[in-house]
Structure formats: C-alpha cells, structure tokens
C-alpha cells in the first residue's frame, strides 16, 4: 500500500481524509485504484484517460512528468502527492 496525500481542494471527495492509501505497481495503477476506492475523485483527476493538466502528481517529492509519467514504478515507502492548482491568496 502506498500513502496518497490528498490536497485540501480534493478532500471532499475522500470524505475529508487528508491521507489515504492505494495500491499499484505504477503511478497509473495507483491512481486507478485510488479512483476505484474514492469514485468522486475520478472526475477530478482524470481527463481523457490522462491526469488532468491542472493536477500535478508527485512521487517521492518529484513530479512524475519528470520521471516516467504514469508508468513510473512505485517503490515501497514512497508517498504520492496529488497537487491541483490552488489560486487563493486573499
């Protein structure tokens, strides 16, 4: 199981959970599993079969786009961070 950090803008979809767990050998599998466990998340993070452009996915502190994208292998102990754009400043 891999820990997945849920951003404040997506916590409604996880029932308020700040951190959840999902399984998967790759990032894609992990996010699919996450979307299965929390179906409300599916519409928020997926866009035409890919992760939406306004959502960034970080594995082990690195943007998966700079790794192997959704094919990046997930290693034990790593944490996945979902980070959608956040605009609030006032």
């Amino acid at each position: 199981m891999t820990a997945v950090r849920i951003p404040p803008t997506l916590r409604t979809e996880t029932g308020g959970e700040r951190q959840v767990e999902a399984e998967g050998v790759t990032v894609r599998e992990l996010l699919e599993d996450l979307s299965t466990r929390y179906p409300a998340l599916r519409d928020r993070i997926w866009e035409d079969g890919e992760v939406a452009s306004f959502v960034n996915v970080y594995l082990g502190g690195e943007d998966v786009r700079t790794l192997d994208g959704l094919a990046t292998a997930v290693e034990a102990g790593q944490t996945l961070i979902l980070l959608p754009a956040m605009a609030g400043g006032a």
């Binding site: 700040r18 452009s53 502190g61 690195e62 943007d63 980070l83 959608p84 605009a87 006032a90």
Partner: protein, 737 residues
C-alpha cells in the same frame, strides 16, 4: 602571631617617578642607599611588599609545586620584640648589568653586587647575598649572629619537637628560610629557569629594626597604607576586635602623625635613634592586595589554633570589603611585628616594542604585490567607520578592529581564503592579522603602509555609499547580519517590489517588506476594505473599512516606515494595464492574487518582462509557496499549463482560510522577496513548499522547467495575454477579494 595575611601595594611608575622612587631610596635614613643601577626609561613597577618576620627556628619553607611553578608559602610567626634585619632591596638589572642587593643600615653591611641575577632563582640570589653579607659582617666585626639561624626565642614557645628539628637543620637552610619567608606575598612564582616570570627581581626582606619607616600616602595609596598600620607587639595573641578593622582607630607606632593617612613600615636602623623613612606613593598609585596563605598552624596548642580559626572566621565575615580596601592585611597584622619592605622593578613593553614584535610574527604584503595577486584576495578593512566612509579598497569587507574578533567568523567563514588586512598605515592591521591567525585563519597578510600607501600608489579606491545615522539605527538589526550589512540595506532601500493584491498574503508581505526598508512598494488592488477581510488582512484596520485597499495599505505602511514610497494601483490587473504597471520598473513581484486569471496574467507578464515572481497561495489550512524566476526555473505554466475549470477552483471566499495562514505564507513570500532583492541565499526557485497548518508540517516537492511550456518553453504557443474572463464573476480580472 597572626600573620597569614599581607597586603602589597603596586603601582606603575613612569621614568620620572621611578627617579623619585630612587631618590626616596637614597634617603640617608632610608631603606637602601643605592645607586649605580640604571633606571630604565621605560615604565617600572614598584612593589612595596609587606610581610612579617619569619622564625628562623621553624622548619624550612615549603615549596609547593603549583602548575609548573613553585610557591613559597607564607609563614605564620614573627617575633615582635626581636631585633631584626633591615630590608634588603634587590634592584633590577638592566640590559645585562649586575644586580645590586642592599642591606642598608646594617653594621658592616651595604650593597652586594650580584652577577646577572636575572637568570637566577631568587633563592640563590638571596642566598648568595646572605652569604656575602655574612662574610662582610664577619670581616667588619659586625653582628654575625643576626645571620645565623639561631635567634633569641622565648623558650616557652618552643616545643621539644621543634627544638629537635632546629638541631637537625643546617644553618644555610635556616638562613634561606629566614630570608625567603617574610617577603609578604602569597607566593613567588618561578618559571622553568627559576626566574620569577614577568618580574626582574625578587625582594629579599629581612628583620625590621625597631625604628620604623613611614610610608606616607595620599588618597590613591590609602589601601596599602592602611593595611600597614601597626600595632605594638604586645598585642600579639589578642584576637581582633571589630574596632580594629578600622585603620582610623589604629595607632601607628610612630605616633608622630596620628591623623595623617599613613602607615609605618619597618626600616633599617642605622644603629642609632629610630628615624622614620618616608617612601612617597603618589596619588595615582594602583593598589593590589595580595593575601598570605596560611601555611601552618600556630604553635601554642589548641587555644592558639582556636584563636586563629576565630580570626579566620572573622575575616571571612568581613569578606569582600576587606579584600577591597586592603584592610584584611591590616587586621591580620595588627598584632604582628612591623614588616619588611620589598620592591620589584619591571621594565614594561612600549607600544612601539609591541608593534615591532607583532610585525615579526605576521606576514606583510606591499600594495603592489597585493594588487597583483592572481585570485584577487579578500581585502579586510579594519579601520573605523569614518575612515571607511572616506574611501576604501573596492570590494573590501569592513570590520572595525574593535569588533573584529566577534564578527569575523560570521563574515569570513572560509579560514583558508587569502585575506589582506589593511588599516590606514599598517599598524592596526598587523595586530588584526595576528588576531586572525590566532583565530585559525591560514592565509592572512597585513597590507604594508595600509590604505594610505595603497591610495598613494594609485591603486583603485572606492567611495562607499552609506546610511545616515537615522537609517543606521532603524536598520541596525539588518546591518548586524553579515549577509545584509550596510551594503545590503542600501540595496533594499533601492529595491522596488510590486505586490499583486493587498489582501491576506499582501498584508504581511507588504508590512514586512516596508519594515525591512524596501524603498518602493507598488500595490495593485481594486477592492475596498471589507469587514470580512480584517480576520487576516492586517495591513487594514477597522478605521479604514470601506476605503480602497491600496490607500488603506499605503497609510499603514507609511506610518510604519516613512522611508518607503508606496505606489498605489487602484485598478484590476488586466491584459490592458499590466504592461503599463510593469513598465514602472519592478525588481520582484509578490503574487498574492486570489484567482487563476490574475495568476496566469502575472505569470505570462513576468516571463516576458523577466521579473521574478514570489508565488503564494492559501486555502483553509494549506499554503503553497515558490519562486518563479523566468528562464532560470519553471514558471507557473510549467506546473499548470492551464487553469482548472471554475467549479474545481474554489477561492478562499468560498472555502475559507485560517486567519494566520496568510500571515505565514505571506511572510515567507516577503522573506523570498528580500532574498531576491539582496541576491543572497537559496530561493525557492524550482521548489514548491507545501505548508499544512493542521500538521504543522512543511513538505517540499521539486519543480522542473517544462520544455514544452506554452510560455517559457522552447516553442511557446502563448505570446500574448489571455483573459480568462470565464473565471471571473465580473468583467476583467479581479485582484484580491
């Protein structure tokens, strides 16, 4: 007899006063009529030491090794009624000349010449003198018995053991003891060669005659002199009374000047009538008290010991006052015999000597060599501020000599870096160089001839800009930081920062930037202060409700720091006005907008204007902060090429925010902006810091430039501003709700 304390007076004499001292010594009735010993032109140290007499019958003086030096403990007893030897003065040798040991007043005595006593331990010096005196006395038919260990002693005071001990002693040892003991100091330290370190001569005190010398003092020397007030010997075993602690009630033996602030000390009788000796101690005399250490118990059984303990207790109770005014010795000696005088003379180093010595211990470099050094050494200016302000070597670091030790390590952490230290003429820098070497700096050179020579030889100089006194005071905590300093503060005062939004993030950011002395703050915001803003937007206040935020903020900032010029832009940031606003010239943009259209607008404009953006955003308990520096790191579109649909981008107005959160993130933005303005530290370029207030945790993720970024990528697809009107509830781009 109580005698485990003694006071010693010390003063520094100039050459002229040294002469006076000699004249005093040459007084016909004086301690030592000596001449021929050169008095150095340098400073001398005078140590009138007062001790009490030794018992020749007592055991040998203990020499206690202490940290590599030997200590001769003070002795306990003296015989008040015994006729005593006169003081022996040992004058300093100077520049290899012979020392002179004087025993004035002794019949058949006189000066004894000793060769090179400088390198000889005092004991041997004294011993030689003693033997010589003895020989002289013998030859002239003088009272040889005075030099002998066996002296008249009240038989009832001596125990059997002591008598046996006396019998075992060799006369020579006993004489040594007699001489060494009553010098009136805790100890004399000897270095490895047997010399007393730092002192050229050691006194050789002896028995006083019945006549007394008067040491006259004025106020400056009151301490020692009071301590020398003497009581008649018949008070020998009387425990001290409190009244006796006051020297004023003590009775000098001379009796001649009961009201004069003075004291008596033993002098050498010339065999005739007692004649006081006057030893002048000028007002500027510095008094240093030394205590004698108890070395052995009194003889006389338990009662005597008890008395001594009582006395010790009494002394402890008197405590620091005694130590301060030197009366302890007076009390202790109130029941003792008048004590010998000892004088030490020491030549002192002059400034010139010290400078020459220091220069031999450091490396110097000529201006031409320093200017030609290949790697450009760091120049360290140790002159005072006013000198620095009149010009300095370009790029030099300025740490005044007075604060060098405390500040240099922070300013110069690399101890191997070549450093050329300079001052005006090369003297202060020599001392500074030595200090730096002692601090472990490996490549330190002092600029020979200093800045004066540097400038005279036509090497480049620079006139520094500087802060006025008011600004130095206001920004003193910045100036103290080596990474900022006065130069950094001047940079801040020249800096221009544009704040997009005067809301939650803009409030703390603008306040801290203003307080830090950022010279020009632009604020873009079209809103007015609303009651719901005041939970977090601390630049505004209840009294400015309903006012334009830019004007409310301007008033607060100017009240905080009048050095700051606030440029208000009471308008919504749009594709139409952003270029005009940015054209006013900004070094850094602090983005505290609350909506995506403005974020993207600011991002695109900053890339095209090449202005770094300190980005912050907040939502409920979470904050994000990073720095987008065009073409050196990713831009906002590298992260999020396009904004989310409006329904997926709730604002604070919808989702709420913890009031303090913008305080944290906005302050971090101010910190990053200051670093960018100063050009110091590692900014958040390429790093996104996530703050979770509920967890009180920071998480950092790496950001990379996207080569396919539509704005800063290799083939940008966005080349003009995009108005994301659909995000806004009102036409145009709203900034900061």
């Amino acid at each position: 007899m109580r005698g485990d304390h003694c006071a010693t007076g010390r003063r520094l004499l100039s050459g002229s006063t040294g002469l006076e001292r000699r004249q005093a010594l040459e007084d016909p009735g004086g301690l030592a009529a000596r001449d021929g010993c050169p008095v150095s032109g340098s400073d001398l140290e005078l140590f009138p030491g007062f001790g009490h007499l030794a018992e020749p019958e007592e055991e040998e003086p203990q020499v206690i090794p202490h940290r590599g030096v030997a200590a001769v403990p003070a002795r306990e007893r003296a015989e008040p009624r015994e006729r005593a030897l006169g003081p022996i003065l040992v004058e300093a040798t100077h520049r290899g000349r012979h020392a002179s040991l004087d025993v004035p007043g002794r019949e058949g005595g006189g000066r004894v010449e000793l060769a090179e006593s400088r390198a000889r331990p005092p004991e041997s010096l004294i011993r030689d003198a003693e033997c010589k005196l003895r020989a002289d006395s013998t030859a002239s038919g003088g009272p040889l018995e005075r030099c002998q260990p066996r002296r008249r002693e009240p038989p009832q005071r001596r125990g059997k053991g002591e008598a046996r001990q006396e019998a075992r002693k060799s006369p020579r040892k006993a004489r040594m003891e007699k001489i060494v003991r009553p010098h009136g100091r805790d100890r004399i330290r000897f270095d490895a060669t047997g010399r007393a370190p730092g002192r050229d001569r050691v006194l050789a005190p002896a028995r006083p005659e019945e006549c007394e010398a008067e040491v006259q003092a004025n106020e400056g020397a009151a301490g020692i002199l009071r301590s020398q007030l003497l009581q008649p010997g018949d008070t020998a075993f009387r425990p001290p009374r409190k009244s006796e602690t006051d020297p004023g009630v003590q009775r000098p033996r001379t009796g001649e000047h009961p009201r004069r602030l003075g004291a008596t000390a033993p002098a050498v009788g010339g065999g005739g009538a007692p004649k006081p000796l006057r030893l002048g101690v000028p007002a500027e005399a510095q008094i240093e008290e030394q205590r004698r250490r108890p070395a052995r118990p009194f003889r006389g059984g338990a009662s005597a010991l008890q008395r001594r303990r009582t006395d010790d207790d009494d002394r402890r109770k008197r405590g620091s006052r005694d130590r301060h005014d030197g009366d302890a010795g007076a009390r202790r000696h109130s029941a003792t015999i008048p004590t010998p005088i000892a004088i030490l003379l020491k030549p002192m180093s002059s400034y010139r000597d010290l400078l020459q010595k220091t220069k031999t211990e450091i490396a110097e470099i000529a201006p031409a060599e320093a200017a030609a050094l290949p790697d450009g050494p760091l120049f360290l200016d140790v002159r005072e501020r006013d000198e620095w302000e009149e010009g300095h070597i370009p790029g030099a670091l300025h740490i005044p000599r007075g604060t060098l030790e405390s500040r240099v390590e922070a300013a110069l952490p690399d101890r191997e870096r070549p450093v050329v230290v300079y001052c005006a003429g090369g003297a202060r820098s020599a001392f500074a160089a030595k200090t730096l070497e002692e601090l472990g700096y490996g490549d330190i050179r002092s600029l020979a001839g200093g800045y004066t020579d540097w400038k005279r030889n036509g090497f480049p100089t620079q006139l520094p800009r500087s802060l006025d006194a008011a600004k130095r005071s206001r920004y003193s905590r910045h100036i103290l930081i080596p990474e900022v300093g006065e130069e950094g503060q001047l940079k801040l005062l020249d800096a221009r920062v544009l704040l997009v939004g005067a809301g939650g993030l803009g409030s703390p950011a603008s306040l801290y930037l203003a307080a830090a002395g950022v010279g020009r703050l632009g604020i873009v915001d079209a809103d007015v202060v609303d009651e719901s803003n005041l939970q977090r937007q601390i630049v505004h206040s209840t009294s400015t409700l309903g006012e334009l935020k830019v004007l409310s903020a301007k008033a607060t900032i100017e009240a905080l720091n009048p050095d700051v010029e606030v440029v208000p832009y009471a308008e919504r940031l749009t594709a139409e006005n952003i270029d005009r606003i940015l054209a006013d010239g900004w070094d850094v943009i602090v983005d505290g907008a609350d909506n995506f259209p403005t974020r993207y607008l600011v991002n695109d404009a900053s890339v095209w204007h090449r202005i770094p953006v300190v980005h912050g955003s907040i939502y409920r308990f979470d904050g994000q902060i990073t720095v987008f520096k065009p073409f050196e790191g990713p831009c906002y579109r590298c992260l999020f090429p396009s904004p989310p649909p409006p329904e997926l981008a709730p604002s604070c107005a919808e989702g709420g925010v913890l009031g303090v959160l913008p305080g944290i993130i906005g302050s971090l933005q101010a910190s990053e902006a200051l670093k960018l303005a100063l050009g110091i530290g590692d900014t958040l370029v390429g790093r996104l810091l996530l703050f979770d207030a509920l967890e009180a945790s920071f998480t950092e993720v790496g950001l990379r430039r996207d080569p396919e970024c539509p704005v800063c990528g290799e083939n940008p697809t966005i080349t003009e501003y995009v108005d994301y009107v659909e995000f806004c509830q009102a036409p145009g781009v709203r900034v900061a709700s």
